[in-house]
């Protein structure tokens, strides 16, 4: 703040309070809806304040799911989402660390070619190669498996570039010292590079966990069997019930549960999250 302007300060706070309220409103409405029973949604305005069916509704979707829509219990879907998000985050970080190490610390023929092949993945998001990627995964027999859900998404140009940037800032003296002490490349990688990149790894992990958890189109394609549905895609099965009013209270309870884990991750690790977000795009 450059100068004192009380009116402007009040206006600033009002803007922020209004903004925060507007951002929170849909989730509040969804939460309120998730604590009522089906008969409260038949006519007129939906309830705006929480009701008394919280435990009942959440227990119902967690343990039983909405069986009429063919959706499995949310407990299972949350588990599937966790497995998928963790595999994607860990897998992406692992293979990107290894390839960044190879690109930065070794001289070998075709290095530029490898670099450009990795770079190409940036230009091919899953949405533009839907059908052929599906055919590859089906051909490998990976439909309805955790491997099929995660492996096709773990190649990452941005993570490789990020670790390349980090490694480039690590002083050469460390490498020399390690070599004089007789450390081989893998020992140097394990005992020096990884510890020095710890914060970057943690920040990237937060971003990638959210990325993995929120995947929609890909799980929609490769899971035809309800036992492998993820929470974020499973909700579509509940929404798309033909010829009947949506079961709002159960849909919203599911939505709240499906958004809870990544939101908690952001709230707990806000600083790492902001760092990871900004770093990844550099």
């Amino acid at each position: 703040m450059v100068e004192r302007r009380p009116y402007l300060t009040v206006l600033t706070h009002l803007t922020l309070i209004l903004g925060a309220g507007l951002i929170a409103l849909p989730v509040w409405i969804a939460f309120a809806a998730s604590t009522h029973e089906a008969s409260d949604f038949l006519s007129g305005l939906m309830p705006l304040l929480p009701g008394d069916k919280l435990v009942e509704n959440y227990w119902k979707v967690l343990a039983h799911g909405e069986s009429s829509a063919g959706a499995p219990p949310i407990g299972l879907m949350l588990f599937n989402s966790t497995v998928m998000a963790l595999s994607i985050a860990v897998g992406k970080i692992a293979i990107s660390l290894l390839s960044a190490f190879a690109i930065v610390y070794f001289r070998f023929p075709l290095k530029m070619a490898a670099f450009w092949i990795i770079f190409l993945t940036l230009m091919l998001p899953v949405e533009v190669r839907i059908l052929p990627t599906y055919e590859v995964v089906a051909g490998l027999g990976l439909l309805n498996t955790y491997a099929g859900l995660s492996i096709p998404l773990i190649a990452s140009a941005t993570a490789t570039f990020l670790f390349r940037q980090v490694f480039l800032t690590i002083p050469d003296e460390l490498t020399e010292a390690a070599r004089i002490d007789g450390a081989g490349p893998m020992k140097f990688f394990r005992d020096i590079l990884i510890p020095l990149s710890r914060t970057n790894i943690a920040a990237l992990f937060v971003i990638l966990f959210i990325y993995g958890w929120n995947q929609y189109l890909w799980p929609l394609l490769v899971t035809t069997d309800a036992s492998h549905y993820t929470a974020v895609m499973g909700i579509q099965r509940m929404v798309a019930v033909p010829d009947s009013e949506p079961l709002w209270h159960l849909i919203m309870a599911t939505a709240i549960l499906a958004m809870l884990p990544p939101v908690v991750v952001i709230l707990l690790m806000q600083r790492l999250f902001v760092q990871g977000l900004i770093e990844q795009e550099k």
Binding site: V2, R5, T9, T12, H13, T15, L16, G19, A20, I23, L25, P26, V27, I29, A30, M46, I95, L98, S99, A102, I103, Y105, F106, R107, F108, A114, F115, I117, I118, L122, L124, P125, E127, V128, R129, I130, P132, T133, V136, I151, D172, T175, E176, Y216, L217, V232, I235, Q236, V239, A240, W248, A255, A258, M259, P262, I266, Q270, F273, L277, E281
Partner: protein, 294 residues
């Protein structure tokens, strides 16, 4: 490419280190992409029995197809509106958050969490708010004399997906605008203040021009977001309808390929989208190179 002065020797080890990344890239990126290009040049008959090579005919047909052209138009309207809406709201909040001294951390926390909400969930939340019979926004609009029914009215369905997509994206833009604002040297703002420029004038003549790299970067990211990541919003709430009023390009690739089983046309649409992403990526990288120089 910059290199380390000190490096390790060997051929087998770097090859082994790169192998997992390259293998995944080859199997799940390069091969499918080449297949998409190949299939875009073929046409299958209705029963999938025979395949003929048709050259660029699938592409020619697309550009003569009014449903494809209308989908292009829908996508442009949708992504431009989403980018403008979410970026202006985020800029407003970022300027405010940059100005407050007390409670700024709390405000930041309250504004960034929707980043974690999947687009499809954002769609479902707003779908309830806008529900014609029980939703609160439809109720308020009714009070104002506007009859809301996005199931029948294409423009209203478009508004629904724009609002849902923007709501989710505000937090991302907010983080980048705030970082951009905080990197502007205070001395510049103070100098302008001493020269007699008020807050509004300072914003438009000093802050906004200095934010232009951030704004350009965000415009590209938001465009990519609106083109691709919003598939879930459309698929779960409007299903591209009513009619084709909200059929964005990605949704059309999915619909024509998986539901209509028109493989040649779907592949041709994929190839066009690929070219679009490649063009955007190149623009962005050229821009970043330029930014490094000044």
């Amino acid at each position: 490419m910059t290199d380390k002065r000190v490096s390790f020797s060997g051929l087998l080890l770097p090859a082994a280190l790169l192998a997992p990344q390259l293998a995944v890239t080859a199997v799940f990126f390069l091969w499918p992409a080449s297949q998409a290009v190949y299939q875009s040049l073929l046409r299958q008959d209705a029963f999938g029995l025979s395949v003929t090579f048709v050259g660029l005919d699938n592409f020619v047909r697309l550009f003569e197809d009014s449903s494809y052209l209308s989908s292009v138009q829908v996508t442009i309207v949708f992504s431009a509106a989403t980018a403008i809406l979410s970026m202006s709201a985020a800029l407003l909040f970022a300027v405010a958050a940059d100005r407050v001294l007390r409670g700024s951390t709390a405000y930041k926390t309250l504004l960034i969490w929707p980043y974690a909400v999947a687009p499809v969930l954002a769609g479902v939340l707003w779908w309830l708010m806008f529900n014609p019979s029980i939703g609160i926004i439809a109720y308020i609009l009714r009070g104002l004399g506007i009859s809301w029914n996005h199931v029948l009215d294409g423009d209203q369905a478009m508004i629904l997906i724009i609002v849902a997509a923007s709501w989710k994206q505000v937090s991302y833009n907010f983080v980048f605008f705030l970082a951009g604002l905080q990197s502007i040297p205070r001395s510049l703002i103070e100098a302008a203040a001493i020269d007699g420029a008020g807050p509004v004038k300072r914003f438009f003549t000093v802050t906004l021009p200095l934010l232009s790299p951030t704004s350009f970067f965000l415009a590209v990211v938001n465009l990519v977001y609106a083109f691709f990541d919003t598939f879930g919003i459309v698929h779960a709430t409007t299903n591209g309808g009513p009619g084709t009023a909200t059929t964005i390009l990605v949704y059309k690739v999915f619909k024509d390929g998986f539901i209509g089983l028109n493989l040649g046309s779907s592949a041709a649409q994929s190839v066009i989208l690929m070219l679009f992403v490649i063009a955007l990526t190149i623009i962005q990288f050229r821009f970043i190179e330029r930014r490094v120089h000044y």
